[in-house]
Amino acid sequence: MEFTVSKILWTLLGLFIVLNWGLIMSGIMRKIVARVGKRYGIPLYQPYIDLIKNYAIRSQITHGVMFYLGPVFRLSGGVGIFLFLPLIFGSEHWSNFSFSGDLVLILYFQFFGMLGMALGAGEGGHPNSAIGISRGLSQFTTIEVPMTLAVISLAIQYNTLSIAEIVAAQQGGIANWTMLTNPFATAAAMLSLLGAFGHSPFNLVKAPNEIPIGPPTEYHATFLGVLRTNAAILHVVEAALFMNLFFGGATNWFELILKTFLIYFWSVFVGVVFPRFRIEQSVRWFLKIPLALGIIAIIVMI
């Protein structure tokens, strides 16, 4: 891992592309959800306008230091995953700062943003924030269990914790993808992915119409702008992580865009079909089938 100026510039360019693709993708997905509901839906560029509008709000209030730091932690969680994730296989410029143990670090970064956000939103003091946080953390704890089991299964299978090596092992046609060589781990991880993306039936963290907005209830203006910027980045990098682990990675940007779109679409597809779980239903659900699949994936690999 070298820190040269050109390497940093390439990484920033990658971040810029990922951010834009994330915004466009969220626009497309909201359009799809609208069409399912027989609405015309927002313009595709609406996420950009919302972002500009949020940054252009003239007045802001604060509830304290942690309130400032919440969105910063969240953003560093999203950017942190991006920095250590190889985006394009075999590319010198787009493998970012990935190294031999990056998979563990990325699993850690997934939780990092949520914890920071919990502290910040907690200082906001709104009851809906507190409810959203307690739901989010308890749900994410149960999501992590099958996801981690799947990752351990992969580590046993490929004998490595480096994402680049896992992608390398999957090259040479669809038959080599983890999706086919280790279907149980893939199933466990894809089911826990539904919770990670937070669409219905697992959208009880933000739960529109129930605990309106959830944790970011008190966040506005630039704070909200930072959160939305992070959401756009996070959606793409989470999908790219799963693409790397289970679907053969990507050798060019077109492949990355197509695969991340399909992986994100999986959660949206489930979301428009199924209604929202309550928190205890959601926690129980993750501790049943996905957990069983995760354990089977490990037993099979041992």
Partner: protein, 223 residues
């Protein structure tokens, strides 16, 4: 009676000054109105100095209007059709938000009882500048069919600055959409600066509000 006594008379029990024993045994004095709320006088938020940039920002504000989901009176029933397939306001960048912190527009949808007015003022003051008020229905203009009611206000613009009026009893969602289009025109022309107007004439608005809300038991200005 002094003004402070009247103030205390309507204060809720949990908002009164009291002494609390801290975990370490020391006694702390708590004044919730001072400790939990910021009662600093609001400042005027000037538009951006460079005109081209302000024009661009105004375009973004006009194309992304987030409406506070707060229904008053009978007009709030016109909001659900607005965001569902028949009228679909999302096409025009109009979206509903559930928290005043993130909202830009406040629809006063019909008559306002004095009790609701108090909540409306609190919600309006928690919204961040620039913010807009759309007054829906004739009740907000002159009281409408409730003009001689004992418990509703007649003219909304005595209490809050209004950007757009939509007349009718009740106006249909089409009229509401037309109102949004008018609001967009105003924002793009840089004429929707009523939030600053409210701050400039704060004393006048506060006097009007206090005249009608007799049990004023909150800070003078709610952030």
């Amino acid at each position: 009676m002094k003004e402070t006594d009247i103030h205390d008379k309507f204060l809720h029990e949990e908002n009164k000054k009291r002494e609390v024993i801290a975990p370490d045994g020391s006694i702390i004095e708590i004044d919730p109105l001072q400790d939990y709320f910021c009662d600093a006088r609001p400042q005027i938020n000037e538009p951006f100095k460079i005109k081209v940039i302000e024009k661009f920002l105004n375009w973004a504000r006009a194309e992304s209007i987030w409406v506070l989901g707060f229904g008053t009176g009978c007009g709030s029933i016109e909001i659900p059709p607005l965001v569902t397939p028949r009228f679909d306001a999302f096409r025009y960048g109009v979206q509903m938000r559930a928290t005043p912190r993130q909202s830009n527009a406040f629809i006063i949808s019909g008559y306002l009882s004095v009790k609701t007015l108090k909540r409306v003022i609190r919600s309006y003051e928690q919204m961040q500048s620039p913010k807009y008020v759309i007054a829906l229905g004739s009740c907000t203009i002159n009281g409408g069919m409730y003009w001689d009611s004992y418990n509703t206000i007649n003219r909304l613009d005595h209490y809050l600055p209004v950007d757009v009026y939509i007349a009718g009893c009740m106006p249909r969602p089409e009229a509401l959409l037309a109102g949004f289009m008018k609001l967009k025109e105003l924002i793009k022309a840089g004429k929707a600066e009523k939030a600053n107007e409210y701050i400039e004439n704060l004393d006048w608005y506060k006097a009007n509000q206090k005249k009608i809300i007799r049990d004023w038991n909150m800070p003078d200005y709610n952030w």
